[in-house]
C-alpha cells in the first residue's frame, strides 16, 4: 500500500488548497432543459424560485381552498419563493406560522383532512425532523387506518433540500430516504425550474400527501425557459435526460447535473456512452423505466447527495439486481455522499462530485 497521503489528492488528483479555494463556486453546471411542446408554447425565463412561486400562484388561482403557510412565508419566506402571493390572495390564505415544525405539519394534516388544499413550507429539510412524527404516523397512515374514510391527500409539504455550498450540518441535508421508508407519502424532487413547476402542481393536486424537496442551490442558479401556463408533470414517472447505451446513471435533484457532466466526460475521455435518468419521484419510483434502461445497458450507477448507507440508492440497487440479474455486466455501483454528518468545511470532499461519478463509470464499465 502506498504511504499515507492526504486522501483528497487521491480522490481528485488535485490538492486541498485548490478545492477549498473553490468553495464559493457551485460543484456543478446547471443544464437547462427544453420543456415538451404539450406543456405550452408561451415561455418565460424563470429560475427555480420563480417557478415554484408561479406553480403556487396557479394552484391558488385555480383552487380557492388552497392555503399556503409556514415560517415567514407571508412576506415571501427566507428564500422568497412565496413573494407577492399574500398581496394577491390575501392574508387569510397566505400566512406566517410560529416556529414550530411539528405544529405546521399537524396543522396542515388537519386542514387537508377537512378538505382544504394545504401547502406547508418547512424552511429547511433539516428542520423537517420535528415534523417527522406527524408526517410518518399521521399523514402517511390516515387513509389506511380509517379504511379510506379520511385522508389528507390535499397536503403538500415543501422543504428546501440539499447542499448549498456552505450550509454545514443543519442546512444541507437530503432526508428523502427517511420518508421513502414510509408507505403512504410521496416524495418528489425536481432538477430544474420546469420540473419544479410541473411536479409541484402535480403534488399539490395529487390525492396523496406529498413531500416536495426543493434543491435550494438551484433557486437562483438554475434558470431556463419555463412554460407560463398550467401544466403538470406526472408523478412516479422518471425522465431520461441523456440517451446512452453502455451504462445507466440514475439520479435526482441537483445531482442530475453532476451526472450529466460526468456522462459527457466519460464520452470524451473513455468513449463510454452513459444514459442519465432523472427519477423525479423518489417514492413511489418508476421501476419499469429504470429496468428497461438497465436491461439495455447492462450496467447501473445510482448517485445521490445523501449518505450512501440506507440511501435510496440501496433500494434501487436491490430492485435492479432482482429484476435485471441476468442482464447485469457489473455490480450496481452507488456514487453517493460519504457516511458522515453533512460536514461544514469538507463539503467539497463529501459530495459525489463529477470526478467521483466519473470514477464510478470507469469502474463499472471496466469491471
Amino acid at each position: 500500500m502506498a504511504a499515507f497521503r492526504p486522501f483528497s489528492s487521491l480522490l481528485v488528483g488535485g490538492n486541498t488548497r485548490q478545492l477549498l479555494a473553490k468553495r464559493g463556486a457551485a460543484h456543478f453546471n446547471f443544464q437547462p432543459s427544453d420543456a415538451p411542446k404539450e406543456y405550452g408554447d408561451v415561455r418565460q425565463k424563470m429560475n427555480l424560485c420563480q417557478a415554484v412561486n408561479n406553480a403556487m400562484d396557479i394552484a391558488m388561482d385555480t383552487d380557492p381552498s388552497a392555503v399556503l403557510f409556514g415560517e415567514d412565508v407571508a412576506f415571501g419566506g427566507v428564500f422568497r419563493c412565496s413573494i407577492g402571493l399574500k398581496d394577491k390572495y390575501g392574508a387569510d390564505r397566505v400566512f406566517n406560522t410560529p416556529l414550530c415544525e411539528q405544529g405546521i405539519a399537524g396543522f396542515g394534516i388537519g386542514l387537508a383532512v377537512a378538505g382544504s388544499t394545504a401547502i406547508a413550507e418547512i424552511q429547511f429539510g433539516d428542520y423537517i425532523f420535528p415534523a417527522y412524527d406527524q408526517l410518518v404516523n399521521e399523514a402517511a397512515k390516515y387513509r389506511y387506518r380509517s379504511g379510506g374514510l379520511f385522508e389528507c391527500g390535499k397536503l403538500t409539504v415543501r422543504a428546501t433540500w440539499g447542499a448549498v455550498g456552505h450550509g454545514a450540518l443543519y442546512h444541507s441535508q437530503c432526508p428523502e430516504a427517511n420518508f421513502t421508508h414510509t408507505p403512504g407519502v410521496k416524495v418528489v424532487i425536481p432538477r430544474g425550474p420546469t420540473q419544479a413547476k410541473g411536479l409541484l402542481l402535480s403534488c399539490i393536486r395529487d390525492d396523496n400527501p406529498t413531500i416536495f424537496f426543493e434543491p435550494k442551490i438551484l433557486y437562483r442558479l438554475a434558470a431556463e425557459e419555463v412554460p407560463v401556463g398550467d401544466f403538470m408533470i406526472p408523478l412516479s414517472k422518471a425522465e431520461t435526460v441523456r440517451k446512452g447505451k453502455d451504462v445507466t446513471i440514475v439520479s435526482w435533484g441537483t445531482q442530475v447535473h453532476v451526472c450529466l457532466e460526468a456522462a459527457q466526460l466519460a464520452q470524451e475521455k473513455l468513449g463510454v456512452s452513459a444514459e442519465v435518468i432523472d427519477l423525479q419521484t423518489i417514492q413511489p419510483w418508476d421501476e419499469d423505466h429504470v429496468v428497461e434502461s438497465v436491461k439495455r445497458t447492462g450496467r447501473l450507477i445510482v448517485s445521490h447527495e445523501a449518505p450512501k448507507t440506507s440511501g435510496f440508492g440501496a433500494e434501487i440497487a436491490a430492485t435492479i439486481q432482482d429484476r435485471c440479474f441476468l442482464h447485469l455486466e457489473s455490480p450496481v455501483n452507488r456514487s453517493c455522499g460519504w457516511d458522515t454528518p453533512f460536514p461544514h468545511v469538507y463539503e467539497p470532499f463529501y459530495l459525489p462530485t463529477v470526478w467521483r461519478v466519473f470514477d464510478s463509470i470507469k469502474k463499472t464499465v471496466k469491471y
Binding site: A2, P6, P130, H166, T340, Y350
Partner: protein, 403 residues
C-alpha cells in the same frame, strides 16, 4: 409603561427615558461600591423576587463593560467577514443582547451549565473561548473553537453544551443536563436559553413538564428580542408574556437591556433552584440590532428608526457606561482604554481567522462514532488506496502538530 416594555421592547416613544429615570445610584460611604436601582421585575406564581436595589463594585464594572464590548466588536467583525465572503453560510449576531449573556454569566458559579441555540458566539466567549477561536470557527479554520468542524451555531466549551442549529431542540436537553446535576447532588443550575420564536416549539412544554414533575434545577430563559426571524412576537405568540408560559413553572420578567437587573435575577434564581425549588422560567426583554441572520437585512419588518431609537435610548452598553461613569465608579478614560484593547484583540483575532489553515480532509471521517471503523479510501488508481488513518479529530490535530 411596564406593559409597553414587556412587549419585547417594541420601542414605543420615550419608553426608555422612563426606564432610565428609575435608575438611581448611591455611593456607599464605607466602600467603593455603588448602589443602583433597577427596573422592577414582574413575577409569575412567586411571592417575592429579585431585589431592585443592587450593588456594583469597580472591578465588576470594568469587567462587565469589557465583556460586553468584546461581544459587540466581535459580532461586528463577524458581520464584516460575512460581507467579505470570508464567513460562508449562516451567521446570527448577538449585538444588542450583550447584557443578557454577560449579566447571567456574572451570576453563574463553578459547574453551572448553559445551552443555547443560534446566537451563541457571545456565550462561547464568556464560557472560555477566545475571540480568535470564535471568529476562526466561523471562517472554518483550525484555530476555531471546534477546529472548523462546526461553524456557525455549532460551538462548544466546558459546561457550554452548545449552540444548536435546530430551533427548540436545546430545550429538553437543558432539562436532561439539570437532571444529571440533581442526581449528582450538585448545587448547580442549567441555564436553558431560547428565543421568543422557539418559545412556540412544542418541545418547550414537554421539557417544562418534566422539569417541574421532577423538580429539576433548570432555568428556562426566553431571550425575547421582539422578533422570531421576521415575525413580530404579537403575530406569532398568543401570549407574549413569556415568563408566564411555563404555567405551573414560576417565572420572572427581567429588563434584559440592564446587565445589573439580569445579574440580580440570575443570582436570585440560582438561590431558588439551589434550595430545591426549581425549575424557573425567565423572560429577558431585549432587542437585536441586526437581522435574524446575515441574509435578513432586518429592515423589512421594522423601521430603521425603530432600531436607531433602541440604539440611542436602550443600548445595554451605552446605558451601562453612562451609569458607571456618572456614579463615579470608573472614569471615561478607563473605558476608552478598554475600548482600545478590545479593538486590538478583535483585530488580531480577525487576522488569525482569515489566515490560519483548514483542518486536513482526513478529519472528514473522524469522530463519527466512538472508534469509527477504519475506512478504505480508493485513490485515483487502485494501488493508491489508503486506510483513513485517524479515528478522532484529536489524532488529526496531533499529526499536524496543532495539539
Amino acid at each position: 409603561m411596564l406593559s409597553v416594555l414587556s412587549k419585547g421592547f417594541k420601542p414605543a416613544a420615550n419608553s426608555t427615558v422612563a426606564a432610565a429615570t428609575t435608575v438611581t445610584s448611591t455611593r456607599l460611604a464605607s466602600t467603593n461600591d455603588v448602589n443602583f436601582t433597577v427596573q422592577s421585575y414582574k413575577l409569575h406564581k412567586l411571592d417575592n423576587g429579585p431585589k431592585t436595589s443592587v450593588t456594583l463594585n469597580r472591578t465588576d464594572a470594568l469587567d462587565f463593560y469589557r465583556k460586553m464590548q468584546v461581544i459587540r466588536r466581535m459580532e461586528s467583525a463577524a458581520g464584516n467577514l460575512y460581507k467579505e465572503k470570508k464567513i460562508r453560510g449562516f451567521c446570527h449576531l448577538y449585538s444588542g443582547q450583550e447584557a443578557c449573556a454577560v449579566g447571567m454569566k456574572a451570576a453563574m458559579t463553578e459547574g453551572d451549565a448553559v445551552i443555547t441555540a443560534y446566537r451563541c458566539h457571545g456565550w462561547t466567549y464568556l464560557l472560555g473561548s477566545t475571540t480568535t477561536q470564535i471568529l476562526a470557527e466561523l471562517t472554518g479554520r483550525i484555530a476555531g473553537n471546534v477546529y472548523g468542524k462546526g461553524g456557525s451555531m455549532h460551538m462548544y466549551e466546558k459546561n457550554f453544551y452548545g449552540g444548536n442549529g435546530i430551533v427548540g431542540a436545546q430545550q429538553p436537553l437543558g432539562a436532561g443536563v439539570a437532571f444529571a446535576m440533581k442526581y449528582r447532588n450538585q448545587k448547580n443550575v442549567c441555564l436553558t436559553l431560547y428565543g421568543d420564536g422557539a418559545a412556540n416549539q412544542g418541545q418547550l412544554f414537554e421539557a417544562t413538564n418534566m422539569a417541574k414533575l421532577w423538580g429539576l434545577p433548570v432555568i428556562f430563559i426566553c431571550e425575547n428580542n421582539g422578533f422570531g426571524m421576521g415575525t413580530p412576537i404579537e403575530r406569532a405568540s398568543a401570549s407574549t408574556d413569556y415568563y408566564t408560559r411555563g404555567d405551573y413553572v414560576p417565572g420572572i420578567w427581567v429588563d434584559g437591556m440592564d446587565i445589573l437587573a439580569v445579574r440580580e435575577a440570575l443570582r436570585w434564581s440560582k438561590e431558588y433552584c439551589d434550595a430545591g425549588k426549581g425549575p424557573l422560567m425567565l423572560e429577558m426583554a431585549t432587542y437585536r440590532y441586526h437581522g435574524h441572520s446575515m441574509s435578513d437585512p432586518g429592515t423589512s419588518y421594522r423601521t430603521r428608526d425603530e432600531i436607531q431609537n433602541v440604539r440611542k435610548t436602550r443600548d445595554p452598553i451605552t446605558g451601562f457606561k453612562d451609569r458607571v461613569v456618572t456614579s463615579g465608579l470608573v472614569t471615561e478614560d478607563e473605558l476608552k482604554e478598554i475600548d482600545k484593547d478590545v479593538r486590538k484583540e478583535v483585530e488580531e483575532a480577525v487576522k488569525i481567522a482569515t489566515t490560519d489553515g483548514v483542518l486536513p480532509p482526513e478529519a472528514l471521517y473522524a469522530d463519527i462514532y466512538a472508534n469509527t471503523a477504519t475506512q478504505e479510501i480508493r485513490g485515483a488508481t487502485i494501488d493508491e488506496t489508503v486506510k483513513q488513518p485517524f479515528k478522532t479529530t484529536t489524532e488529526v490535530l496531533k499529526s499536524i502538530g496543532r495539539l
